[in-house]
């Protein structure tokens, strides 16, 4: 196989796929940070919950994973609203770090509940394998990857429209930019907080379903993704949904491309360190550009 094709098929495409998944998760993380001013450590486990909701739907009705998405989105949003109501809202007046600590515990509670209800085994949406389709005789892409990337793009465009053209979206951006200012102009913070949970939860659910579709569903899957997602959110600048989209793609690509044999025959970085790539980028970003790649504004 030609070297370029190997590069595209085995490094670039998987990088874009996992990048899309990271981006969907990171958008929720970054929106929540913008509106509620805290880092939601349970976001990865919200993703896991979404994947299990879809699993239940697929198991019950035998749906295609894409058709199970709306069900997963609704259920996950409801879950997020409940968590917000019972656990985060009572702490809202306390320093935001208390919320962060709380979310650490919520993450554990979600994971334990899933393990309790569904057990610890890995689950699958689809059995068997899908042979990849040849496009133009060169690209070999699996159908579900096309689905994943397209759905991710559609959702991101929808989010863009929401943020740009609806009153709710504008209000969200306003709160994210300056909570005090937004409160002065009479924007109802409570409604915005709820909307943020719904959007963040839904996108996390989609990310979880895609992750499970591409690999497998397992109780720790979301937690393991929390750090790459945080890295993506920080890369794009916390509080900036567009930054998170780009950040997700960059992290996804960086992870895959780090093991490409750029120089000679060996992988650039031992795959044992693959998970470290995201953390390293993240720590480096925090030190040199804490406002993200596109962050000109000083906080």
């Amino acid at each position: 196989m030609d070297q370029l094709l190997v590069f595209i098929n085995a490094y670039l495409v998987p990088g874009i796929v996992s990048g899309s998944i990271y981006a969907l998760g990171a958008i929720g993380l970054t929106l929540l940070f913008g509106v509620l001013r805290f880092t939601h450590f349970a976001h990865g486990d919200v993703m896991t919950a979404g994947a299990y909701f879809a699993l239940t739907a697929i198991g019950l009705f035998g749906l295609h994973p894409v058709l199970a998405l709306p069900i997963a989105m609704v259920c996950t949003s409801a879950l997020c609203l409940c968590i917000n109501h019972f656990f985060y809202r009572p702490l809202m007046r306390r320093p935001s770090l208390v919320l962060t600590i709380s979310s650490f515990g919520i993450a554990l509670m979600i994971r334990a509940s899933i393990q309790l209800l569904y057990g610890v085994e890995s689950h699958y949406y689809v059995r068997g394998i899908q042979r990849s389709t040849d496009f133009l005789g060169t690209f070999r892409i699996v159908d579900r990857h096309i689905w994943i990337v397209c759905c991710a793009i559609v959702l991101m465009v929808a989010l863009h429209l929401l943020l740009t053209y609806t009153r709710l979206g504008k209000a969200m951006r306003a709160v994210s930019d300056s909570p005090e200012l937004a409160r002065l102009t009479g924007i109802s913070t409570l409604a915005i907080v709820k909307a943020t949970w719904v959007i963040g939860g839904s996108l996390a659910a989609v990310a979880g379903v895609f992750l499970g579709w591409d690999g497998f569903i397992q109780a720790n899957m979301g937690w393991d993704l929390l750090l790459p997602m945080s890295a993506a959110a920080i890369l794009g600048g916390l509080g900036r949904p567009y930054g998170a989209m780009v950040g997700g793609l960059v992290i996804g690509l960086a992870e895959e491309l780090s093991s490409y044999p750029w120089f000679g025959g060996d992988a650039l970085l031992s795959p044992g360190y693959k998970t470290g790539v995201a953390f390293t980028i993240m720590v480096a970003m925090l030190i040199w550009r804490p406002n993200g790649l596109f962050g000109g504004r000083v906080q």
Binding site: F38, T39, F87, P90, L91, R94, S96, L97, V98, T100, I101, S102, F104, G105, I106, A107, L108, M109, R111, A112, S113, Q115, L116, L227, S230, A231, I234, S270, G272, Y273, T275, G276, F279, T280, M282, V283, L286, I287, P290
Partner: protein, 332 residues
């Protein structure tokens, strides 16, 4: 009779772990309770201490760096220094970050450390870890061996408590708490905020390194699973929040309560029958998460409220009533 020896043994083991966790909780209290640093990478510094002490005390082996054969009295301080050094390097680059950024950065650094311990086989034994670590007093007969080690752990925990408490009541403790309460005012008061934060971070991490070293020698083994954030980082945080953030006594009490609950709850859950026996551990995890939520919402001060900063050993009845004092111009 045997059962009482057994309960004795179990109590000793429980107390040993409580001692080790108290040292970690005290370290976290210095970082979070006093200095206000959000460290979620406890496991990383714990593991640095554990591996450092393990490498320094084991004899020559082809499986990892070794052959230093140092006695523990030297290895433990060196393990603390190793953890402190790593913490210093981390703090130098991360200490200016806002609190939640610091949290994410420390998680990331903890993970990077874990990957290094796991992958650098020549140094750490890789995934197999380091076994056959010596434990002080292990040659004593019967129950005396664990009892003597418990004594060592408790003495070290008391020393750690003494150091933490003396630090808290000293002018240093006053400054770091001032920085925690209001950073700009501390800057305006001429305090080099970065320096004090780095000191708090390094001292706290040295405590964690000591706890790591003690654990490695207690288990006679250290492996990359030792850096599991759930068992180390999360549990220690729950201990501090439950015990009372900002209070050294609270940190120790939290360690005792949470570890006892964590350990003893299984004695009941393992009696559940059938499928529930598998699931009981998850109920346990869920409950730990729930306890944290309840404490945060309803008992924000923990079991033992934050101790007031008390300037140590000064006359509480001031000399202000003496006539000459009012004639002294305040030191402007």
């Amino acid at each position: 009779m045997e059962i009482f020896v057994g309960y004795g043994n179990y109590t000793i083991a429980l107390a040993t772990m409580i001692g080790i966790y108290s040292i970690m909780a005290l370290g976290l209290n210095i970082q979070w309770g006093l200095t206000g640093l959000f460290n979620l990478g406890i496991a990383g510094f714990f593991a640095v201490g554990a591996y450092a002490s393990a490498i320094l005390t084991t004899s020559e082996t082809p499986k990892h760096i070794g052959g230093f054969d140092l006695p523990v009295v030297l290895a433990w301080p060196l393990a603390m220094i190793a953890a402190a050094f790593i913490a210093w390097a981390v703090a130098r680059i991360c200490i200016r970050l806002r609190a939640d950024y610091l949290a994410i950065a420390t998680i990331g650094i903890g993970e990077i450390l874990r990957l290094i311990f796991k992958n650098e086989q020549w140094a750490t034994g890789g995934t197999r870890g380091i076994s056959n670590i010596s434990r002080p007093f292990e040659q004593l007969p019967g129950i005396w061996a664990p009892l003597a080690f418990l004594g060592v752990v408790l003495i070290l925990a008391m020393v750690a408590y003494w150091l933490a408490e003396r630090g808290r009541t000293s002018p240093w403790g006053r400054v770091v708490q001032a920085i925690r309460d209001n950073e700009p005012a501390a800057r305006a008061a001429g305090k080099n905020v970065e320096t004090f934060r780095i000191q708090g971070f390094v001292i706290g991490s040295a405590f964690m390194g000591l706890a790591g070293a003690l654990t490695a020698h207690y288990f006679k083994f250290v492996g990359p699973e030792a850096t599991d954030p759930l068992q180390v980082t999360f549990l220690v945080w729950v201990m501090l929040i439950v015990g009372g953030n900002g209070s050294n006594r609270g940190a120790m009490l939290g360690a005792a309560v949470i570890w006892t609950m964590w350990s003893a709850s299984e004695l009941f859950s393992s009696r559940l029958s059938g499928d529930w026996a598998h699931r009981a551990p998850f109920v346990r995890l869920f409950l730990v998460g729930l306890i944290l939520q309840i404490m945060l919402q309803y008992f924000p001060d923990g079991l033992m409220p934050r101790q007031r900063q008390i300037t140590a050993r000064l006359p509480r009845k001031p000399t202000i009533d003496q006539p000459q004092s009012s004639h002294i111009l305040p030191p402007f």
